[in-house]
């Protein structure tokens, strides 16, 4: 073969390579994830990655519109009795499960019962539920022991929420996540396969019964434009970015802040901010150690820290973070400035005086952090330095995430630990509100305010009580918020219908390429 022929053959082979890559990808959205979710069972698993995939398959009775207000999804409407204790929910008719079976009140009843008993967030509502009954095939009644304001928000939050499964699948199931063969929901996409380390694939559900109305957040019309959604674990961020640039992936999540400006300028790539910010939390131990019940010492630690340098180092571009002390972001209905004057003082000298007054004698304070999340570790390094400058003897203990989870359940193993929290549409869902969450904040003041907060449905009253709770958090310091972080994803500019930001998790109904 002479040189010219060789060049010709090589060029032809290259074109064939390129063409074949494109041909296999037709109608499939390829989403590069950071890893694999622990399970897709939405009732018991609270991983955001699990919800990113699973909310295309599973639906609840309610969902959130673009203003984060709960609106019906599988429900068609509801009534609440005058005493606020009886909720009657009408169900949409003609909704089919992926196995072809029609959804009725029996399925909703079985799903709510399993979620109430074993669901990650179910006990928040069901500890106050007297009974749940079906009235015919398309209506259920929930009787509460006392009025419970956040019921609809809890029903609408699908992450660890009441996803509706067929009764035949969910009856008798306990805390253990259901197996992939039981991933049967009502969503626009249905489960196809989960190949370990390769992908999770959902395919279009042709008998999907979409809710009516204009698309609005997660509410309104849902159209499955793709033949399949393929979620591919790509743990290396360089590979995720290169994959989108090369056209091998259409969408990639969790891109670090230091690449933001470069990617934002790239015309072939769209950067998509996650609308609901995540926020770091440093929990303090209320059960054991020097911080137990010593609120003055906790306030001293809080005063020593200036949150801004840590956000600059750990996150990067200012567009991606806010030094915001409110537990819910500015612009959100739950935003409040109660207590936030104590959010980021960075007063080392003042903290030293406060610590001495609180009886601190330089004993080691065990601070656990994981390297699995770089922003946890980077932030903890900055805080440790600031705390040392204020005279605190910080024993920084670095673990992998699995070890940290095990250790934080043992009160004698730690004094502070770092974690982060996803955006939630109702403060009742923030982990510090859960008395059993490691940290175990359960003071009488909290209990009294929490009871008032859940007992009313009046939005203005609930907001006022939440402000009091946030002020109490800054006073008793069960946890320290580290600031809002707007993570971002990237997508091929060929994708249509994505919008500039996600509501909470990315969704791919009404999206095409």
């Amino acid at each position: 073969m002479n040189l010219r022929n060789w060049i010709r053959s090589t060029a032809l082979a290259s074109s064939m390579l390129a063409l074949s890559s494109a041909a296999f990808a037709d109608g499939v959205l390829r989403y590069a994830t950071v890893g694999e979710p622990p399970s897709l069972d939405q009732q018991v698993v609270t991983s955001d990655l699990a919800t990113t995939i699973a909310h295309h398959m599973f639906e609840g009775l309610y969902t959130f519109n673009a203003s984060n207000s709960p609106v019906p999804l599988l429900a068609s409407g509801d009534k609440i009795s005058d005493d606020g204790k009886t909720i009657t929910i009408a169900l949409r008719k003609g909704v089919k499960f992926h196995n072809g079976q029609k959804m009725t009140s029996a399925d909703v009843l079985a799903s709510l019962k399993r979620w109430g008993e074993f669901g990650s967030r179910g006990s928040l509502l069901f500890s106050n539920v007297e009974s749940v009954d079906a009235n015919g095939d398309y209506e259920i009644t929930i009787k509460l022991k006392t009025p419970f304001g956040p019921w609809k928000n809890l029903m609408a939050f699908i992450n660890g929420g009441p996803a509706i499964y067929p009764a035949s699948v969910i009856e008798g199931k306990g805390k253990e996540p259901i197996a992939p063969k039981d991933y049967i929901g009502t969503g626009p996409y249905k489960f196809n396969e989960w190949l370990p380390n390769r992908h999770v694939e959902l395919v279009r559900f042709d008998d999907y019964s979409s809710p009516d109305g204009e698309a609005d957040g997660y509410a309104g019309k849902r159209v499955a434009e793709f033949d399949a959604l393929r979620f591919i674990p790509v743990s290396d961020v360089g590979t995720r970015v290169a994959g989108v640039r090369a056209g091998d992936y259409d969408y990639a999540e969790s891109i670090p802040g230091d690449l933001f400006e470069e990617l934002d300028k790239d015309a072939s790539i769209a950067t998509i901010l996650n609308g609901g910010p995540i926020f770091g939390l440093v929990f303090m131990n209320s059960k054991d150690g020097p911080l137990k019940e010593n609120f003055a010492l906790r306030r001293a630690i809080q005063s020593a820290i200036n949150k801004v340098p840590a956000l600059q180092i750990a996150i990067g571009p200012e567009k991606l973070w806010r030094s915001n002390g409110s537990f819910l972001p500015e612009g959100n209905v739950w935003y409040t400035d109660a207590g936030i004057e104590n959010f980021s003082k960075g007063d080392a000298e003042g903290a030293k005086t406060m610590a001495a007054a609180a009886g601190y004698k330089g004993d080691p304070i065990k601070f656990m952090v994981s390297t699995n999340y770089p922003f946890h570790y980077d932030t903890a390094i900055v805080y440790t330095k600031q705390l040392a400058q204020a005279g605190f003897n910080i024993d920084l203990q670095v673990y992998d995430w699995a070890t940290l989870i095990e250790k934080r359940a043992q009160p004698d193993q730690w004094d502070l630990f770092f974690t982060h929290h996803g955006f939630v549409p109702d403060p009742i869902l923030i982990s510090v509100m859960n008395d059993n969450y490691p940290g175990w904040w359960n003071t009488p003041e909290k209990a009294a305010l929490k009871a008032k907060f859940t007992a009313t449905s009046d939005p203005a009253e609930r907001k006022a009580i939440w402000s009091e709770i946030q002020a109490l958090i800054y006073e008793q310091v069960p946890t320290m918020k580290t600031g809002d972080v707007y993570t971002y994803n990237i997508a091929s500019s060929k994708l249509k219908g994505l919008g500039e930001a996600t509501l909470i998790w990315p969704s791919f109904w009404n999206v095409s390429k």
């Binding site: 290259s14 390579l17 390129a18 074949s20 890559s21 296999f24 590069a32 890893g35 694999e36 622990p38 399970s39 018991v44 698993v45 609270t46 991983s47 074993f118 990650s120 967030r121 660890g160 306990g174 805390k175 253990e176 996540p177 197996a179 992939p180 989960w194 190949l195 370990p196 380390n197 390769r198 591919i232 674990p233 790509v234 743990s235 290396d236 360089g238 590979t239 290169a242 994959g243 640039r245 090369a246 056209g247 091998d248 699995n372 673990y399 992998d400 995430w401 699995a402 070890t403 989870i405 095990e406 250790k407 359940a409 974690t419 982990s431 859960n434 059993n436 969450y437």
Partner: protein
């Protein structure tokens, strides 16, 4: 040879039993709880304990070990806590990628390493040798993650000739054509390994070249190429054969960096991910399979020695 092979295979049994105890202990002594990882950040200690009990992980280590061993002896490696499918099926899926990747890499290593090694040895001290040895040092020093990312940038992002990452099974759509996904990763893995083989072939051949039988062959007037291949290279291959065997095993079990950069669903990445999520049955299963692999390769290397060098007797 058959009797020897049978005896060596029998000797694997006590070694594997000892390995199984060590693997089981190490895996279960790592702090961390699969139930806590499965249930996520909001799970309470009671919920975690309940799931731990449901999965049988609250039984004594001895009970768990013998249950596991009993099942393994019947060919049942258990079910992945994470994926809810049999461990053997998870391993088989990873093994397909790893075996294909290791095989392609070995082809590159042989195609690049052996001819250049021979050339460097036969032209010892010349500019050819200098370039071959210098190049080998350079490629042996390049970190695989760096080389991998640059190959992606040039050949996937820049030229668009190859996919940047991933590997669909050859039983999926695309069939054997999916092998193209492994081209860049295999080149990445081959670079440092071929460099080592170049140096090994060169050094072994230089040693053999100084021996009497080579001098005799030359004195008899044999063609230099014939001397290099038939008399020098064949004898030099004895040490190279061992290196090939263990390189192949290492490529299957230790290619985790390349598998991560190219997002390949191979065995190395499977082990690391399984450790991070404390998927005990998968970790135990994969490590046991890797131990078996090393033992079998060790046996094959010994058998190859005897084939290459009649002085080696199999007793």
């Amino acid at each position: 040879m058959l009797a020897y092979t049978f005896k060596r295979l029998l000797a694997l049994i006590p070694t594997l039993l000892a390995a199984s105890v060590l693997i089981f202990l190490f895996v279960h002594l790592i702090p961390g709880d699969p139930a806590a990882i499965l249930l996520g950040d909001t799970a309470t200690p009671e919920e975690i304990a309940e799931l731990t009990h449901a999965m049988g992980l609250d039984r004594s280590l001895i009970t768990q070990y013998f249950l596991w061993l009993g099942n393994v002896l019947q060919g049942d490696f258990g079910t992945s806590i994470f994926f809810r499918i049999p461990v053997l099926s998870v391993i088989a899926d990873g093994a397909e990628t790893s075996i294909l990747l290791a095989s392609m890499t070995m082809i590159w290593i042989m195609l690049i390493g052996i001819p250049i090694g021979i050339l460097a040895a036969t032209r010892h001290g010349s500019w050819v040798d200098q370039i071959a040895s210098g190049g080998a040092m350079l490629f042996a020093s390049i970190p695989t993650f760096w080389l991998g990312l640059y190959l992606i940038l040039i050949f996937a992002v820049g030229l668009g000739w190859f996919p940047s990452s991933g590997f669909p099974s050859i039983s999926d759509e695309g069939g054997l054509w999916n092998i193209r996904y492994l081209l860049l990763p295999s080149l990445t893995l081959a670079a440092p390994n071929a460099a080592l083989i170049i140096r090994l072939v060169r050094a072994s051949m230089l040693d053999v070249q100084r021996e009497d039988h080579v001098r005799t062959a030359r004195a008899k007037g044999l063609h230099p190429t014939k001397v290099a291949i038939r008399h020098v290279f064949r004898n030099a291959m004895i040490s190279v054969a061992a290196a090939f065997g263990f390189t192949f095993a290492a490529l299957i079990s230790e290619a985790v960096v390349t598998e991560t950069v190219f997002s390949l669903p191979g065995i190395g990445r499977l082990v690391v991910q399984s450790i991070l999520r404390r998927d005990y049955p998968v970790i135990q299963g994969v490590i046991l399979v890797i131990v078996c692999l090393y033992m079998i390769i060790n046996l094959l290397v010994d058998l190859t020695y005897a084939r290459l060098d009649p002085r080696v007797s199999l007793k």
